[in-house]
């Protein structure tokens, strides 16, 4: 891991860009983090638009977690996003999806699988490798939460990575059948955010996914509004969820 920039804010939060095996990422640490008092870590999964595009949203959450709750946060670029190399299979799947949507055809299981599963299979090992490195840094001790991002990545990660102690997921994208199987194996506390009028995300599928999770403790927060209309108060609701579970 090479740190490539460091920025210190008035409230003591430090933001550092890094690269890890060629993958760009960002780490935010609260003023309180030190080798003798390590803090919990939240992995912030980005949407697949490139960290440059979504920086303001992610940094806003990370700085809030750090300043208000003393959590460190980190994110890494998804495979195929930002400046990371695309691959032919993903481009083809995106083109197929666009074609189906434009033609008013139903977006069936095969299309969703082709679009999402290769991304999940590439991203999850990268997040796990990043976790190895992040948890070895002085001042970062765990436990670890995961939030945001493509929900299928979060579900698979929560299902296979025992260091994830709690997850706050955004039911904002199409979910392959295989991920429903992963959901049944998730047992950590969950908070799932659903935009009730999300145009591109079928509501019933999101409710079915919430139902499928194996976790004994899970909360669904559904709010009126479309995909980008998550109300501001959910930021603190998410932080409080982590405050209950990352101790």
């Amino acid at each position: 891991m090479q740190f490539t920039s460091e920025r210190r804010f008035d409230d003591g939060v430090v933001e550092r860009e890094f690269t890890l095996d060629g993958i760009p990422g960002i780490l935010w640490t609260p003023a309180s983090a030190s080798a003798s008092a390590p803090v919990p870590l939240i992995l912030i999964g980005p949407p697949p638009l490139g960290l440059g595009t979504v920086y303001a949203r992610l940094a806003g959450r990370a700085r809030y977690y750090a300043a208000e709750y003393g959590f460190a946060s980190a994110t890494i670029e998804l495979p195929g996003s930002g400046d990371r190399p695309r691959w032919a299979e993903a481009d083809r799947a995106r083109a197929d999806l666009r074609r189906a949507v434009a033609a008013g055809e139903p977006v069936g299981g095969e299309l969703v699988d082709a679009l999402v599963l290769p991304l999940v299979e590439r991203a999850v090992p990268e997040w796990r490798a990043a976790l190895d490195v992040l948890l070895a840094l002085p001042g970062i001790g765990g436990p670890v939460g995961y939030e945001g991002g493509i929900i299928s990545v979060g579900v698979r990660l929560a299902a296979v990575e025992p260091r994830i102690a709690a997850a706050a997921l955004f039911a904002g994208s199409l979910v392959p059948a295989a991920i429903f199987e992963d959901a049944r194996r998730v047992t950590v506390p969950l908070q799932v955010l659903l935009q009730w009028d999300d145009e591109a995300n079928p509501r019933q599928a999101a409710l079915d996914l919430f139902d499928a999770f194996g976790s004994a403790e899970k909360t669904l927060h559904a709010n009126t509004g479309g995909h980008t209309g998550v109300p501001a108060h959910e930021l603190d609701a998410g932080a409080r969820f982590f405050a209950r579970h990352l101790k």
Copy 2:
């Protein structure tokens, strides 16, 4: 309104029992409430078990709202609950419901209507009359929130009573079709609590009711667990909802 007892807690919260036109009730006021600095009011709708039975639950919420957020709260006994006179129609409806449930028959619309609508039609004018009196007390100024209780009472009250500025409803009981019509006329901010595994409360009907509300701003909090398993963290989530809207 006659006050019949007064109790002052260490944190300055005052609990007063009262009767109003023969209806028993309880009022909680924070230490900060005064004629020159009146505070918002939360109406706490009780479940139909009698205030004596549910006192601890209601008082716990009211004292939290008062001590942590500076809100007054009040509740009144529902028609037919506690020591208030029952009426033959309600007894018959309850017996019919018990018989249907025991026989494993579906609980149809007519049964639900007979059980719930007469209660709504008696309770709502009582709550409105209580509101007249409560808002005339020194130290209580509004705005007014409603929370808890039989959801149909809360929906009708929010639909017809313009002084209700926000409502936190518990989707924990059967809802007549007429109340779905009321729900479409509700426009105030809402937070709806749903126990995902509530044995006696069909989940789909609760989701349909949430969908039916006319409010531009509404949030559903669904949690794993049965009817009585609402997680402790929802107390503060409800208080924060009111803190956003009762200003």
